[in-house]
């Protein structure tokens, strides 16, 4: 392999690793990316046989399981604090946490797919539409109370302005509803993916990404504060809403 850049390039950690990062680095190779098990046993079980609380699991991780392929994780590799977080993460993979045990998550998922028809606009782990935001990891981005309000009052938290946090290139100005009328008379409505002084990119009604130069545009209407999402206040009962929100909060993505 080439060596013009001889020597090792050390990566500077931008910030500490999340428990999920640690899981991927140290556990997923044998226990599977989601703890479903492969070479090592599944962790998505009702209870872990050898250590079913954080303290026991931390101790187990520090010494490994002698006589098996389960190695010890030394303190130089993962320090105490992150190891506790990793142990909590692993225990969180169990299927007997309160929501799962009570069946709320399953019912919430059914409401999401069925009665709420949420997937006609939203996408979760590759299923559903891309008209609205992909919710695969919404539970790690938004609090349950925020999610509850978003379901019953969709326009309550739609931004009136993108000022202050979306002025740089890396984060696109997305999900503002816009309507573009071209000088040729074509009208295209959709959600904005990005915009600058000279062009705008939107996802149109067919999910297709469209790019318009401002010089081709006769009129550009921005629907500030508007959401295409209807209120679900009268659709779901209070109990159903709890279940739906519990399901949304459980969507943590892979990272």
């Amino acid at each position: 392999m080439r060596r013009w850049a001889l020597g090792l390039v050390a990566w500077v950690a931008v910030s500490a690793q999340t428990p999920r990062d640690l899981f991927v680095a140290h556990c997923a190779g044998c226990h599977g990316p989601a703890g479903e098990g492969s070479r090592g046993p599944a962790l998505k079980v009702s209870a872990l046989q050898r250590a079913n609380d954080v303290d026991s699991l931390v101790a187990l991780l520090r010494r490994g399981i002698p006589g098996t392929e389960m190695p010890a994780i030394a303190a130089e590799v993962v320090a105490d604090q992150p190891l506790r977080a990793l142990a909590a993460y692993v225990l969180g993979l169990r299927t007997n946490n309160r929501d799962a045990a009570s069946g709320r998550l399953g019912r919430g998922a059914e409401l999401f797919r069925g009665k709420g028809k949420c997937m006609s606009c939203h996408r979760v782990t590759g299923e559903g539409s891309v008209a609205g935001p992909d919710l695969s990891d919404i539970g790690s981005l938004r609090e349950p109370q925020w999610l509850r309000r978003a379901v019953i009052e969709p326009e309550a938290d739609v931004y009136d302005s993108f000022a202050g946090y979306r002025w740089t290139i890396p984060l696109p100005d997305n999900y503002l509803l816009v309507e573009v009328t071209t000088k040729r008379g074509d009208r295209v409505a959709g959600s904005r993916l990005n915009e600058d002084a000279f062009s705008i990119q939107i996802r149109d009604g067919e999910g297709r990404i469209r790019s318009f130069l401002k010089s081709e545009v006769a009129e550009l209407r921005r629907q500030w504060g508007k959401s295409p999402m209807p209120s679900y206040r009268d659709v779901f009962s209070a109990g159903e809403l709890d279940e739906l929100v519990a399901y949304l909060a459980s969507l943590r993505g892979l990272r």
Binding site: M1, R2, R3, W4, A5, L8, V9, A10, W11, V12, A13, S15, A16, T18, D21, V24, A25, A28, G29, P33, S120, C121, R123, T125, G126, E127, S129, V130, A131, G132, D134, S136, D137, I169, P170, P172, N174, L177, R187, A189, G190, L193, N194, F198, S199, Q201, D204, G205, E206, G207, R208, I209, S211, L213, Q223, P228, P230, G253, L254, R255
Partner: protein
């Protein structure tokens, strides 16, 4: 107007955005897209687009530039689908860009582990796509599947342990229902392999070890336990023949690079082309270009699948200085010819094995040989034009003193067994060479100042695009090699060009420095549609 109604009309996942295996297999039916690393499975890096021609390329202009966000060596070969470009940044983050303006439409961000080391600088050569997923490798040796439409992570497979020196820098290759990925780490004493994963789930389907273990054919070509640190990485994307259901993939140097004393034998399957059954990963045949390599002459090249009078061939311009023509059904050697400066072999024998000259192996003091450790060419892509019948290769002319030393293996540590160095009073140089594809005969040459690190792309417009180490992106006449156009990008080019359509207009793109540059003809040259 009712935006709500319009958006609700998107009731089902948009199927137009799906890149089916058939679409990639029939890539020539949609020349405006670039759906796999080399555009087609044949490894040609040739575009049938012909709006930009030898006659008008002189008027080519920059359309836009996109600055990447991650540090490292930017080597991504973009995937282009219906006017959207997908690039992998050096650390494995992914961006989707509007091909018309270069504006990002989504981004997948990821933090590498804090203790990550990467050989040779952070780099990533690109992505694969299949159905609604993009596949990207990472420096910590994961293979990720990213939602093509939204940029969300869909699965995350651990390919190998990065702490032992493994990394994934190669652009994966996707076909059928699987995605293939190779491994880097030939300077760290890894044992190389090529993996296939289930494209839907990330489950590993097969692994071919490029260094055979005990009891496997070829194991006898390694003395002692040397196979355990035998190298033979697979860090450049291979090719695929759907008719023969065979994958062709190049392998890298044996480990340690420069000291072969502890690994007596030919060291299969290092510095080879391996042909594998695509379903099972079983070896169909192999051809070793440099047996018992001691010069770091990886054979990690894109194999080009071509034909001669109906015979299926695979051709490789190799780092060791020779151009090879093989029968890709059987692996039989047909012919080989020197295509660049080399001083280590008197030629090839009847079976294509190099005839090594005496006193050319590394010594403790060092011994000068052409080519140097970067080879007569390197990982960057060659190109084949079916219009001219020529293979275009970026050629390096640079000697090195090769010295060897004893080195003990320690997991994750540098394990090269030597320390090559440049030769005083020799200014390294290079060229672009056009060879007859079936014979390797030189047809024309365009001289470069410095040895190149960029690949080539031939076009149906009779142009060959390439990049220089001084940062010039340029166009040559495919028939004569005459220079037609150049553009200063301001950053060294370590990447391969691609071409695609945006709103019916041909664009050409290349990664240079820390940016992706896209070019198109001005409206005055090509009347707007």
């Amino acid at each position: 107007m009712n935006a709500r109604a319009l958006l609700l009309a998107m009731a089902v996942a948009a199927t137009w955005a799906q890149v089916s295996p058939e679409r990639i297999r029939n890539a020539d039916r949609e020349p405006g897209n670039w759906l796999t690393y080399s555009r087609t499975y044949s490894g040609h890096r040739y575009t049938p687009l012909a709006e930009i021609t030898a006659a008008n390329v002189g008027q080519l202009r920059a359309a836009w530039t996109y600055q990447i966000q991650q540090p490292g060596k930017f080597s991504s070969s973009p995937i282009a689908i219906d006017g959207i470009l997908y690039i992998a940044e050096p650390g494995g983050e992914v961006a989707a860009l509007d091909g018309r303006t270069g504006r990002p439409v989504w981004r997948y961000a990821r933090r590498p582990p804090p203790d990550l080391h990467a050989c040779c600088g952070a780099s990533n050569r690109g992505l694969a796509v299949l159905n609604d997923l993009l596949f990207v490798g990472t420096l910590d040796a994961h293979l990720l599947a990213i939602d093509l439409q939204t940029g969300k992570l869909r699965w995350d497979a651990v390919v190998a342990d990065y702490r032992a020196g493994h990394a994934v820098t190669v652009a994966p290759l996707a076909f059928g229902d699987k995605v293939l990925v190779g491994i880097a780490g030939g300077e760290y004493g890894i044992r190389g392999f090529l993996d296939a994963y289930d494209a839907n789930t990330g489950r590993r389907l097969w692994r071919f070890w490029t260094v055979p273990g005990p009891g496997e054919a070829g194991h006898e070509t390694w003395s002692g336990d040397s196979w355990k640190t035998g190298g033979a990485p697979t860090w450049i994307t291979g090719s695929y023949d759907p008719e023969l259901n065979t994958v062709y993939w190049g392998t890298g140097n044996p480990g340690p690079d420069y000291n072969g004393d502890a690994r007596q034998g030919d060291n299969l399957y290092s510095c080879s082309l391996i042909a594998l059954d695509a379903d099972t990963g079983k070896l169909r045949w192999h051809f070793q270009f440099t047996p018992h390599d001691v010069n770091d002459w990886d054979s990690t090249h894109v194999p080009m699948l071509v034909e001669e009078n109906g015979r299926k061939l695979v051709v490789v311009a190799n780092r060791n200085g020779f151009y090879y023509v093989l029968d890709r059904t059987t692996g039989a050697f047909i012919r080989g010819v020197q295509f660049g400066r080399q001083t280590w072999a008197s030629g090839l024998d009847a079976k294509g094995r190099p005839i090594r000259l005496p006193d050319t192996e590394p010594t403790a003091e060092g011994r000068m040989v052409y080519p140097g450790f970067h080879g007569t060419t390197n990982w960057f892509s060659p190109s084949f034009s079916p219009l001219t019948g020529l293979v275009y290769v970026a050629v390096r002319e640079e000697p090195a003193y090769f010295s060897k030393q004893k080195m003990t293996y320690s997991a994750g540590q540098w394990f090269s067994g030597g320390n090559p160095r440049g030769v005083e009073k020799v200014e390294p140089t290079g060229s672009i060479r056009a060879l007859e594809h079936a014979t390797g005969k030189l047809v024309w040459e365009f001289p470069l100042k410095s040895p190149p690190w960029a690949g080539l792309m031939a076009t149906a417009g009779g142009v060959v695009f390439g990049g220089s180490s001084e940062g010039m992106f340029y166009a040559l006449d495919a028939a004569s090699g005459k220079p037609l156009w150049h553009f200063g990008t301001g950053g060294a080019i370590f990447a391969n060009p691609v071409s695609f359509l945006v709103n019916g207009r041909q664009h050409v793109a290349i990664a240079a420095g820390n940016a992706l540059f896209a070019f198109a003809l001005p409206d005055a040259v090509v009347p707007q549609l």
